[in-house]
Assembly symmetry: C2
Homo-oligomer: 337 residues x 2
DNA sequence: ATGAAAGCGCTAACAT
DNA sequence: ATGTTAGCGCTTTCAT
């Protein structure tokens, strides 16, 4: 395997010059640079990245920590991240926070083993223990998380508020619904929290009163959608439409409607959030909120690399990037005005 | 940041001893080992993996090279791989072979930059140029690929033959269809090739004659499924059932049936291969062939790690692992006997 | 059982 | 503009 030493010998220069030439140092003559590059090419030289990272005490590997679940949009997210890291000559390392190990453990080992030059962290919320760990690390990171609240971190997030707000508004203003239920996500999930908030705000601003029992708890799974959907559909005075905090739960509501023998949208309308692949194929196709997840990955990676490259401006204000959402109107709702 | 040197000082031993203790070398006294471990713990020492890999000229990072497309099962595959690499103290690095760069370029840089200790490679087929590159590398690898033909490589593959054979058999024997069409995948895709082969074999063995124009080319996309489906459904003497080589194309056939005003399965039956998430939600739910993709990832990773750890037995026969498939009977076919 | 020292391939002062 | 050299943190001979 060719090393800079071999190149140096062949070119009759020092390894330092070779290193400089390879790194395009302007202090090297064009002539020698050309020679060295040519020899490197002949020898089919590939720099040893491990040695380089080790010597520079940096790393061009970016970690992407994902929860230990399979989610449809992970591959989109990975793709987005990888696309921009790749363009900047970084590598992407996908790391699951495994069930046996809490996120905290995964993090604290990964943050200090020298492997990573930066970190993108997908978390349901920004907990105290997370803050503790993150406060100890020197490597740049950005969070992907639903809430971007008051933290000091750089975070990119789907614009949950706008998305849920628009949807609720659409339900009220365009469709004319007044009896609107909401199935929430997990209580510790920031995306979910913000979606309820926006839902409530939109109702209030349209002077739609929110029945307490029209807001029921879910956990983002299809099963919980089924369960909560059943609950809602069994009420004597049932809602006209159910806004599930994500599409998977909307799916569960479809199951519930089927069980109840209710027609969508005539007997009960259903909408979701996410626009997962299946949603367009449901019967009827699901009205939902779509976010560009690949874009979220890209934005996170861009922000991270910017942070890495400008270590100076570490005291910049934390950046909060929102990924725009868009309403996808299909046939699970109708105009009842 | 604590290093072995600091630990050595505190423990009043040499760094060599610390290194040994940390690596559980039996030559170190239990006593000193205990002391060193305790100090390491106090200092919150984390080994620098980059330094270790560099010194040992090995790497505990396993590369997983994926094509530059988003596919639903990538995240399952990644999960499977990561689960076992993690258990063996390896990391998983996901690498897309980017569109600008051919797989060959991605590979040849990644194979020699020292970053990876092993490689899992997902490829549509095993081309000559791929063989050329792989023949030059010293790092252990395993392929995930449809065909496992005559190559000298370790490869894990979905059992395409059995899956497609079973499906065809089911169509003939259980349902009683005799006019069966097949939409193939891309011509250079080994999974696709084997599926056609199995389809033909099963027809022949059941003395079902195969009309030439009943085998039409597709490319695994929904659009091609629509196109080929239209073609098939427009024939004066159209097939009773279409076996699409994957679910995405079956989806396209659903679109075609809709356009043609044909009822599934009464006017035309449709089956697929893969069992992607959406298939169960189609109307009617799609009969298809399912493979455990997460398992495929696990198997690939296990095989790779086995290879890495037993560098000696490099001359072993290449292993060929098949991931079992299972028929998922839903309602896009019916008994016409 | 432990220590001394070389070295992995590269970068980055510091000379010249 | 180029060379010399130390050193990144660790493993691994080779001594002892």
């Amino acid at each position: 395997m060719a090393t800079i030493r071999k190149i140096a010998e062949k070119a009759k220069v020092s390894i330092a010059t070779v290193s400089r030439a390879l790194n395009d140092d302007p202090k090297v003559t064009e002539e020698t640079k050309k020679l060295i590059l040519q020899i490197a090419n002949e020898l089919n030289y590939k720099p040893n990245i491990v040695a380089r990272n080790f010597a520079k005490k940096t790393s061009n590997i970016i970690g992407l920590i994902l929860p230990d679940i399979t989610d449809e949009f992970f591959s989109e997210l990975i793709k987005g991240v990888d696309e921009v890291t790749y363009q900047h000559n970084y590598f992407t390392m996908v790391i699951s926070s495994h069930r046996y190990l809490q996120l905290e453990n995964t993090l604290s080992s990964v943050l200090r083993n020298g492997l990573l030059g930066g970190l993108i962290l997908l978390v349901p919320n920004i907990s105290i223990s997370l803050k503790n760990i993150l406060s100890q690390t020197k490597i740049p990171f950005v969070l992907i998380s639903g809430g971007m609240s008051s933290t000091n971190y750089d975070v990119v997030s789907v614009d949950n508020y706008q998305g849920a707000y628009d949807m609720t508004n659409y339900l009220i203003k365009k469709c004319g619904y007044t009896k609107i239920a909401h199935i929430t996500g997990p209580t510790d999930n920031d995306d979910a929290k913000i979606r309820v908030k926006a839902f409530k705000d939109a109702c209030l601003e349209n002077t739609i009163s929110i029945q307490k029992n029209f807001i029921v708890k879910g956990d983002f799974t299809r099963e919980s959608g089924l369960k909560s959907g059943m609950e809602l559909m069994s009420m004597k005075n049932k809602p006209e439409v159910i806004f599930a905090a994500n599409d998977m739960m909307a799916l569960g509501c479809y199951d519930a409607a089927f069980k109840k023998g209710l027609n969508i949208p005539d007997d009960i309308a259903i909408v979701g959030f996410d626009d997962i692949f299946v949603s367009q194929y449901l019967n009827p196709p699901l009205t939902t909120v779509k976010a560009q997840i690949e874009d979220e990955g890209k934005k996170a990676a861009e922000l991270l690399i910017e942070k890495i490259k400008s270590k100076i401006s570490v005291n910049n204000k934390p950046k909060k990037i929102k990924i725009a959402t868009e309403l996808v109107i299909r046939n699970s709702t109708k105009n009842i005005k």
